[in-house]
């Protein structure tokens, strides 16, 4: 029955330059149901939400709302049709009061156009109380816990008259007790007739709340099931279930001694008690869901962020790292995940970027030998096969793959023992990917310890000798023999089941 569905999306395709973020995806939401949406990192869930809320316009497909076809040109259009989304990293104004956060964009006004603060505070309070919360509407948003901020976001959604509410991983940062509170409010909303799309990596959330679950994988729609009709194992296999077709240039290498080890790495609020080690010639993959704390651990190792506790051992000797320079001098290199912010100086040429970490190499008494510098950067750029006219080309004009190769060249110019590659193939085209895998294999073969952070399952299984899976800031499992691991096992270790 079509009338049962409050929202239907059919054949939605969304293309970003170079990638299909959504490929012929469908979705149906019944009136008054809580519908779970699941999938790995990058499965297309976030893009999908943005299509529903009018942030992105799809290239193909149609949205049917209450039986009528609609087109959202912008987020305001979706809001008018009573659709609201509560994002994981909310659109929270920390400096403003709770009331202002709730009514931002639709303030209550006196007839003369001035803001009616008294009425707004009163209404905000009534709204929060109706959700069973005792938050003071006059307090500043920044002083609330994340759970309380989410409740305010929900109140904001209701205050705009939303009947379809999308929650994007609302439980990710909540404690057990706070989750219970959120479940209660979500159920209350459902009982009042709202329809809810609930995105989560936690199986517990799904069992507790949802009646149906839809799975996306690799930008595609996989299926929809009743929560009670599908088992954990089947669900996980639906989420990963791809075949690994790419061929990874993995070389057979005799591992040497343990070259690098961290022990008891902890930082309050980010990660706790992380311990692992790498041998010479070994590629260790760190994987897990986004937000599991992988990048943060590596920032701790490299001295970008301070750690609270923990010890690094390099070739068996304890090492103190206070800043990135200490790490580099000891022989640890880091290829950052965010190459625009941490890896490159976008306004500079390729050559100057490559030599930035190693200026000492080209200078006597602080005066640079620019000829030697240019010569070396040219060699390195050719070694990693950067496509550009000359080493003077600005890196901001290069493609993502070529930019990444410049950062790789920059790291390769250091005298290293251990190299940490943080999402080395993110936002990189297929050709460049293969070259980066090649370089990684060569590094391992020449005796480096290689640590690769990656969210891409095929890459992890294809390249790694050993796999560390992180979950919510802790090491959830270490697979010592990556050859005999399945995608299902990794996902199981990464998710809350």
């Amino acid at each position: 029955m079509a009338e049962d569905y409050i929202l239907q999306l059919k054949g939605i395709t969304k293309i970003f330059p170079g990638v299909k973020a959504l490929d012929n995806v469908q979705f149906e939401l019944k009136k008054g149901e809580i519908h779970a949406l699941m999938g790995e990192n990058g499965a297309g869930k976030s893009t999908f939400i943005k299509v529903i809320t009018g942030v992105h316009a799809p290239e193909e497909g149609e949205i049917v709302l209450r039986g009528k076809k609609v087109v959202f040109k912008n987020p305001q259009d979706a809001q008018k049709e009573s659709i609201a989304a509560i994002y994981q990293h909310g659109t929270v104004y920390n400096q403003l009061s709770v009331t202002e956060n709730i009514y931002i964009g639709h303030e209550k006004l006196y007839k003369v156009g001035m803001i009616n603060w008294g009425q707004m505070h009163k209404d905000a309070e009534a709204l929060l109380r109706s959700l069973g919360s005792d938050i003071d509407p006059r307090s500043s948003m920044g002083n609330l816990t994340i759970a309380e901020q989410q409740i305010v976001e929900i109140a904001k959604a209701i205050s705009t008259g939303a009947r379809i509410i999308i929650m994007d991983e609302p439980t990710a940062a909540l404690s057990k007790r706070e989750c219970e509170e959120l479940y209660r409010i979500t159920e209350q909303l459902r009982d009042e007739g709202c329809s809810i799309i609930f995105i989560s990596h936690r199986f517990e959330d799904m069992y507790r709340l949802a009646s149906r679950v839809t799975v996306f994988r690799d930008s595609q729609y996989i299926g929809t099931w009743g929560v009670n009709d599908i088992s954990n194992e089947v669900l996980i296999s639906k989420m990963v279930g791809r075949e690994i077709t790419e061929i990874y240039p993995k070389q057979k290498i005799e591992f040497g001694d343990e070259i690098f080890k961290i022990e008891g790495f902890s930082k309050t609020g980010y990660y706790k008690d992380v311990t692992f080690s790498v041998r010479q010639g070994e590629i260790l993959a760190m994987t897990g869901l986004v937000g599991a704390g992988r990048t943060e651990v590596c920032h701790g190792i490299f001295g970008i962020e301070k750690i609270d506790e923990g010890q690094i051992y390099l070739e068996g000797k304890p090492l103190k790292v206070k800043c990135p320079l200490d790490a580099m001098n000891a022989g640890i290199g880091y290829l950052p995940e965010d190459r625009h912010k941490q890896g490159l100086i976008l306004d500079w040429g390729i050559g100057d970027n490559i030599t930035l970490s190693t200026l000492e190499m080209f200078s006597k008494n602080t005066i640079l030998n620019r000829k030697a510098e240019r010569q070396r950067s040219k060699e390195l750029a050719e070694k990693v096969k950067t496509k550009a006219l000359s080493v003077f080309d600005k890196v901001s004009k290069l493609s993502g793959g070529n930019q990444q190769k410049v950062v790789v060249a920059k790291v390769l110019n250091l005298d290293l023992k251990v190299i940490i590659l943080d999402e080395p193939t993110k936002g990189v085209d297929v050709g460049a990917k293969a070259q980066i895998y090649d370089i990684m294999s060569q590094l391992a073969a020449s005796g480096y310890g290689v640590i690769m952070i990656s969210s891409e399952m095929p890459e992890v299984l294809g390249m790694a000798d050993r796999i560390v899976v992180m979950k919510e800031g802790r090491v959830s499992k270490i697979f010592d023999d990556a050859k005999n691991v399945t995608q299902e096992q990794i996902l199981e270790a990464a998710m809350n089941i």
């Binding site: 490299f302 880091y334 976008l346 500079w348 005066i367």
Partner: protein, 332 residues
């Protein structure tokens, strides 16, 4: 090939070339309107001498602005260094001018180190940190002088010779400015530290992850600025023959204006030594030329301001044009 190189040199230096053209136009206009009073040996020598102190300061300010900072306290540092230097001079008549110069530079270095520590270690916004220190340094100047002036008759001729003397027929101030520009050019373009200053200004985070001690670089930039301000402060009181509490009030704004005219981006990361030299010269030229053609003193300030605004406007237009050309080249 030659043609291509010429084009590239032109487009890389379009700002400097246009500054030179603007100056040439002003020069000839003034020469014509003032019945030939402009191109005289005396006037040209005057122009350069009057501009020297401003130009020296602009090199230091440029380094600070490249790190995405600013230093508002340099006028006050100049006054303090000038006052301390000349007070020592007044009480020890026979002392060598070189020692006085070194004392002034030392005062400047200490002031600059404080600014640098506030900005780099305590992470106070540069504009606020140096605004606060500006008042403190200015206050210290009054304390040191107890409100009184050090005047020309307290200064021996050997000391006054720093500003009035000549080397190879060129005024000492101009010679010193030239030396500082050569050092500044080599430092920023050919030294490790210079490269790091640009890197920090472009992206502090990338620089840090690349193994640069960004705090140390920031600190260094403010310290160099302080040293230059101390040095320039002494030259200033020497040239005008008076040290007082109000010495060089507001002078920092002229220096910042010279940098902006010379194409230094306030958001950090870019700026050329040769551009800043031209910026300082243009300001100096305006100061020199406007009285020659009898523009009223009331209008002079406004005209200077107008030139600055026009220059910044043309700069952003040039920038937009360059970006459009780059986009067109992509042929989509």
């Amino acid at each position: 090939m030659n043609n291509l190189n010429f084009k590239k040199i032109f487009s890389d230096n379009i700002r400097e070339i246009s500054l030179i053209l603007v100056m040439i136009v002003i020069c000839f206009f003034v020469q014509f309107r003032s019945n030939g009073k402009f191109f005289t040996t005396e006037n040209i020598s005057d122009l350069f001498t009057e501009t020297a102190v401003l130009a020296i300061l602009a090199v230091g300010m440029m380094m600070v602005i490249i790190t995405a900072g600013i230093d508002l306290s340099i006028g006050a540092i100049m006054a303090l260094a000038g006052m301390i230097g000349t007070t020592v001079l007044k009480e020890n008549k026979g002392i060598s001018p070189i020692i006085i110069l070194l004392i002034a530079i030392a005062v400047g270095i200490v002031c600059g180190m404080i600014n640098g520590a506030l900005v780099s270690k305590l992470k106070i916004l540069p504009i606020i940190a140096t605004l606060g220190m500006m008042n403190i340094f200015r206050g210290l100047t009054y304390l040191v002088s107890r409100g009184s002036w050090v005047l020309q008759n307290d200064m021996p001729s050997s000391f006054l010779g720093i500003a009035t003397g000549q080397a190879l027929g060129i005024n000492n101030l101009v010679v010193m400015a030239l030396v500082i520009y050569i050092i500044g050019y080599v430092f920023l373009n050919y030294s490790r530290t210079g490269r790091k200053i640009y890197a920090v200004g472009n992206s502090e985070e990338s620089a840090e992850v690349s193994g640069i001690k960004t705090k140390r670089i920031l600190w260094l930039a403010y310290t160099i600025m302080g040293a230059i301000a101390g040095f320039a402060g002494l030259l200033y009181v020497c040239k005008y023959g008076a040290a007082q509490g109000e010495t060089a009030v507001g002078y920092e704004m002229n220096v910042i204006a010279a940098c902006v005219l010379g194409g230094v981006s306030i958001s950090g990361g870019t700026g050329k030594v040769q551009g800043v030299l031209l910026g300082a010269l243009l300001l100096g030229l305006l100061n020199n030329a406007m009285p020659l053609i009898n523009i009223s003193a009331f209008w002079q300030e406004a005209i200077r301001g107008l030139i600055i605004v026009l220059s910044v406007m043309s700069n952003s237009l040039i920038q937009r044009n360059v970006e459009m050309k780059a986009l067109r080249r992509r042929n989509i």
